[in-house]
């Protein structure tokens, strides 16, 4: 019932249209019920009493009523479509806007693929129902009641006889509706399974080929395919059992009317016109009798979808600007962590324990530590993607929870390891955080990010569409576009991840150059994997199990035993050792030549 109330709120702006549609629907039903009565008069008065004149009148009435029906029907159909599309339009807008404002915590625990398909599916089933279903259902019920009244009022005995087959008809279709729902579900599941099989096979094509497992894969696919086959056959067989039988039951009804009604007509208990009209009414009834269960099913499905939709809409965007927020449009860039502890909502253990740290404007902080040590969690607290569990994160001395979110975030630039770009032109992607940027600004940012050259090599330069519907950029190219995107914001605080996966040496070099430009004159937090980065840092923060284990410069930290030295030995020393080898070999000239020419292997 709650869902119904919510639905009522949703349709309230369209009250006028709802009422209009309902009135038109009532008129349509009334007209439908008048036609058999006219035919009856035609037969009884026109034929029976030989009144030719009456035929002309009847034909005229039929034409007139038909015309009226035509107009109303058009109005009704259009209005109901209008309603369903407008309600869906509003609902989609609400969902879109709401979901994008839900906090990271929500998205962390919601599979995005499922969320997307649910939103799409649920809105669609809701739309089908509000558009057609709800009116069809009312029409069906009104029509059924109206016809039953007419039938029993005119010929109770014949009505009782003729309606006998209607009982199994309703029962048959109801149980069909119930069973077929489950069968469609099974079909959907096996379709999903088949599609997964296929996608997995295509995604893993190299592994399949590498291990010569083609035949094994075909066998597995054949199994899923067969399962789907049987499930689909079941559906069609169920239809084969139900649909012709429905037609047969309606036929039996007509037969009963003909036989018993015919005898009544012979005895003069009923006029021929009445008999024909009677049969027309029964035929008019058979459609709704078959549809009823479908419509009720659809109603159930749609209300379940609506419930899920409202569930999403009811999730609160917990992280938003407070009522009387402080706006700091010109950050200096000081960041303070005061006794910060943080735990992800559904986790048992804290991700961060009691972090205390003050970062002065323009300092570069390198974060080092094993996976899961809390580096990313710490960074995510600064733009307030999550709220601390205890303590406070302050920017320029103000708790981020008191700041205006938009002003805060627009001054923080973020470059992550996997750089997500949107289906839009490269220029639009670079201007993502600053949509009104001029083309000159965009190009300047791209140049600083070492991206200008490869962008101009693209078929349409800056206007080349990338992403799902455009060309695919390599990982290194995407990362440089992401760097340009962050640069264009000209952020006071910068958060980045310097690990560059799957790029060749030259790209790596370009990215490092770009990052260097990016870090200048800003407070920078960087998850460091590179020796150059840790050397560049003012402070290295070594995190371990959510605590700051060590803190200092590279040289200081190397002096003391601890995690930093371990990491250094395993990951960084290779890099250092190589530098020393190179120095010994005195190949500086080669180095500079390579950096300039870029024509390396």
């Amino acid at each position: 019932m709650k869902t119904l109330q919510r639905l009522a709120i949703l349709v309230r702006p369209f009250q006028g249209q709802m009422i209009a549609a309902a009135l038109m629907l009532l008129s349509l039903t009334a007209i439908d019920m008048v036609f058999p009565a006219i035919i009856r008069q035609v037969i009884d008065v026109g034929f029976g009493q030989g009144q030719t004149q009456f035929m002309l009148v009847a034909a005229g009435i039929i034409m007139g009523l038909g015309f009226l029906k035509w107009i109303i029907n058009f109005g009704y159909r259009y209005t109901s479509e209008w309603l369903s599309h407008h309600i869906a339009f509003d609902l989609r807008n609400d969902l879109y806007n709401h979901i994008q404002r839900l906090p990271f915590t929500y998205h962390d625990y919601t599979a995005s693929g499922q969320l997307i398909s649910r939103v799409i599916e649920d809105v669609r089933s809701m739309q089908n129902f509000t558009g057609n279903g709800i009116f069809e259902l009312s029409r069906t019920i009104i029509l059924m009641i109206g016809i039953l009244i007419i039938l029993f009022f005119t010929q109770p005995l014949l009505a009782a006889i003729a309606l006998v087959p209607m009982i199994p008809l309703v029962w048959l279709n109801t149980s069909f509706g119930r069973r077929i729902g489950k069968m469609f579900l099974a079909v959907d599941q096996s379709l999903g399974e088949l599609s997964e099989r296929l996608q997995e096979n295509v995604n893993g094509v190299q592994v399949v080929r590498a291990f010569a497992r083609e035949k094994y894969e075909v066998d597995r696919f054949r199994d899923s395919n067969r399962k789907l086959y049987y499930n689909q056959i079941k559906v069609v067989k169920e239809m084969a059992r139900t649909m012709p039988t429905s037609t047969l039951l309606i036929g039996i009804s007509t037969m009963l009317i003909l036989w018993f009604g015919g005898q009544m007509a012979l005895n003069g208990q009923i006029s021929l016109g009445e008999l024909v009209a009677f049969n027309s009414y029964v035929l008019l009834l058979s459609g709704p009798a078959q549809q009823l269960s479908w419509l009720i099913n659809a109603a159930g499905e749609s209300s379940a979808g609506l419930e899920r939709t409202f569930e999403v809409l009811d999730k609160k965007p917990e992280i938003r600007s407070p009522e009387s927020s402080i706006s700091l449009p010109d950050l200096r860039g000081e960041v303070t962590f005061e006794n910060v502890s943080f735990r992800y909502r559904y986790e048992k253990d804290h991700a961060l324990h009691d972090i205390n740290l003050t970062v002065h404007p323009n300092q570069v902080i390198a974060l080092v530590g094993p996976t899961g040590s809390g580096k990313t969690s710490l960074m995510n607290l600064i733009p307030r993607f999550y709220d601390v569990t205890a303590g406070a994160v302050k920017v320029d001395g103000v708790d981020v929870r008191q700041l205006d979110l938009k002003t805060l975030r627009s001054q923080i630039g973020i470059v992550l390891q996997t750089s997500l770009l949107f289906s839009a032109t490269i220029a639009e992607n670079i201007a993502y955080g600053h949509p009104t940027a001029s083309m000159d600004e965009i190009i300047a940012a791209a140049k600083a990010a070492q991206a200008h050259d490869f962008i101009t090599e693209q078929p349409k330069g800056y206007q080349t569409v990338v992403g799902e519907r455009g060309i695919t950029l390599s990982g290194g190219q995407r990362q440089r576009v992401a760097i340009a995107r962050a640069l264009l914001l000209n952020p006071r605080i910068l958060i980045l991840d310097d690990s560059t996966s799957s790029v060749d040496t030259q790209t790596e070099h370009l990215i490092q150059e770009a990052l260097k430009t990016l870090m200048q004159g800003r407070t920078t937090f960087v998850i460091a994997q590179r020796l150059t980065t840790v050397h560049r840092a003012d402070v290295i923060l070594v995190l371990d199990q959510g605590r700051i284990a060590q803190q200092g410069t590279h040289d200081e930290l190397l002096q003391q035993p601890g995690l930093y030295r371990e990491i250094y030995d395993l990951q960084l020393r290779d890099q250092e050792r190589f530098q020393q080898t190179m120095a010994a070999l005195q190949k500086e000239k080669v180095t500079s030549a390579a950096a300039k020419g870029g024509k390396i292997a």
């Binding site: 034909a59 259009y78 992403g467």
Partner: protein, 606 residues
């Protein structure tokens, strides 16, 4: 996500992106002929179904005629016998209709589904043979859409549309003939509305097709924009784009969808009531003319009743047929797309007289190998000449696009060389079966791919007949058993879809175990570059040593330790081998190898 709009655009100002391939295609005899091949094995049953359909349709058509008989011969003439006969015959036709419909639906269900079953298998089998370059052109999404959506269109066509057309034709023919027999003049009179009907239907079809197509495209645009925003929600929030994105969605994308759908709705709202009205006009005409005996003959009441019933049924097949034409065209379009998959050329096939490669020792010779893609004459590899002894570890070094990956792909015969040969133990790999070649080869990819299934299944993929103990031994040998032991259900823990999320390092260890279980003579390894946490990195280095030992190994190397320890480093540049030798030799030489690495670790002043 597109540029910011300050002013709300109007419908005509919005251009949605091209969402998908053409949904309709005119009749194409070639496509039709190829599709018929799939139907061919079932033609007997299909003709049978058409026959059943004819019987049940004609039985259905007889209904109103028998009602007329009951009224005019029975009731009007006071004859109980005639009434009984008509009623019994009516019952008989109803049962005939029921019986043949039941059988026909069952038969066609099986036939339709079997055809689709065959088509799916054909696509999938072809996918197993297509070269990897095919997969780089065809995204997973497109392939999935062929298999699911396009095959679905064909399924509906084969299961329902074909027979619906048969039913429509039989019903229409039957009704026309019966009406003409019952009363030729009145029949012609009711057919008078037909030309109007045809024109309306034609016009509707013409406009509806484009409008519905636009509405459908608009809907998928909405969905894709919605999906993208949810997928990228973290970036959206990072850049505070919520307001901009919302107004774009509301005023452009969703608005476009609303308008496109309303235009389509207006058309159908007009069409269906109009057809309905035409039927009413026909009935009024019959009553007016027939009832008033304007044509000089008196209408029997039963004939009137039958005509009213026939006119009601008369329009359905016509309306239905016009809809079917659109279905037919979308079936053509889907059929063409499916055929383009099934008939995609297989680039690498077993030679007709391909030998089975016997158990090898692992000596590999690249004999002046050239390579370019079939659709692009730009040379990828030129004159690669390498001679590698059994058991050697070879590290390939060079920048992206230099040809490292292509070289090892040629060795696994994912592509055929365009010139030169690759020999393993003296056998030309183009002359042995792909199965016997690859089953002696292990390949570990950069981003290790795991299948949905348990950890154990994924390791066993390396050798399907391995028993549990062997699987665990392989995991232990690469040091993966420790983290597997810590998983919720150990080796039985599901991974990927609905399972645990493993780190890249852990996935790598599993793929190492998989390769080790296969125990290949030749190992191809594309080392991952992404950073792995300290502990796992340590294990991986040990695992690598163990994996490479005692087999010929080709490594696209990123770790310094791997490169330094290699028996031979091969430096590839612009598709050519420019240097080869050991680490120290190459450094001393001061050539490309030295340049490459000086740059990688170059120190810049802060």
């Amino acid at each position: 996500m597109t540029s910011v709009t300050t002013v709300k655009p109007t419908f005509s100002q919005i251009t949605p992106p091209q969402m998908d391939d053409l949904p309709y295609k005119e009749y194409d005899p070639e496509v039709a002929a190829k599709l018929l091949e799939f139907i061919h094995p079932y033609r007997g049953r299909i003709w049978g179904s058409v026959f059943y359909m004819a019987l049940s349709s004609l039985a259905g058509v007889a209904g109103p005629y028998l009602i007329e008989q009951a009224i005019d011969q029975g009731i009007a003439k006071n004859s109980v016998d005639a009434l009984r006969t008509a009623v019994l015959l009516f019952m008989f036709t109803q049962i005939v209709q029921w019986f043949f419909n039941y059988i026909r639906t069952n038969v066609m269900a099986e036939v339709g589904q079997s055809i689709i079953f065959d088509i799916r298998i054909s696509i999938f089998e072809r996918l197993q043979q297509l070269s990897l370059s095919f997969f780089s052109r065809y995204s997973v999404g497109r392939i999935t859409s062929r298999m699911m959506n396009d095959v679905g269109v064909l399924r509906d066509f084969a299961t329902w549309t074909l027979l619906a057309v048969a039913r429509d034709v039989f019903t229409l023919g039957g009704i026309i003939v019966t009406m003409l027999i019952m009363n030729p003049r009145l029949s012609l009179l009711s057919f008078a509305v037909l030309p109007v009907m045809t024109v309306i239907t034609f016009l509707f079809r013409k406009y509806a097709r484009d409008n519905y197509r636009r509405a459908r495209m608009a809907m998928s645009w909405v969905n894709s924009v919605l999906a993208e925003n949810i997928n990228g929600v973290r970036v959206v929030q990072s850049f505070s784009r919520e307001d901009t994105n919302y107004s774009y969605f509301r005023d452009v994308v969703n608005f476009y969808n609303l308008t496109a759908n309303m235009i389509a709705a207006r058309l159908s709202s007009l069409f269906f009531p109009s057809v309905d009205y035409l039927g009413t006009i026909a009935v009024a005409l019959v009553i007016y003319v027939g009832g008033a005996a304007l044509l000089g003959e008196k209408l029997e009441p039963g004939v009137l009743v039958a005509f009213v019933l026939y006119i009601g049924r008369f329009f359905d097949p016509i309306r239905d047929l016009s809809m079917r034409y659109n279905e037919f065209m979308s079936c053509m379009a889907s059929g063409e797309r499916i055929l383009s998959l099934i008939t995609a050329p297989v680039e690498v096939r077993d030679a007709p007289d391909a030998a089975i490669l016997p158990r090898i020792t692992g000596q590999v010779d690249f004999d002046h190998v050239d390579f370019h893609y079939s659709d692009d004459p730009t040379p990828i590899l030129q004159d690669v000449d390498l001679h590698i002894a059994a058991g050697e570890t070879v590290a390939f070094v060079g920048k992206t696009g230099a040809g490292k990956t292509t070289t090892i792909k040629l060795l696994a015969r994912f592509h055929d060389t365009t010139a030169g040969r690759i020999l393993i133990d003296g056998y030309d790999i183009a002359k042995v079966t792909q199965f016997s070649l690859r089953s002696q080869m292990g390949i570990v990819l950069q981003d290790p791919f795991l299948f949905a299934g348990t950890v154990r299944d994924n390791i066993r993929f390396g050798r399907l007949d391995a028993n549990d103990a062997e699987v665990e031994a392989a995991a232990k040998a690469v040091g993966a058993d420790e983290f597997i032991g810590r998983l919720r259900m150990g080796y039985e823990t599901p991974v990927e879809e609905g399972g645990v999320v493993l780190s890249v390092g852990q996935r790598q260890l599993i793929s190492f175990a998989r390769a080790l279980l296969a125990d290949p003579r030749i190992l191809i390894l594309d080392e991952a570059t992404s950073s792995i946490d300290t502990q796992t990195e340590n294990i991986i280095q040990i695992a690598l040593e163990r994996l490479l030992k005692g087999r010929t190994s080709f490594v696209i190397a990123h770790r310094l330790s791997t490169i330094v320890n290699a028996d031979r480093i091969v430096v590839v540049s612009d598709g050519r081998v420019v240097e080869q030798g050991k680490h120290q030799e190459l450094l001393a030489k001061g050539g490309m190898y030295a340049q490459l690495y000086s740059m990688r670790f170059e120190e810049e002043p802060v």
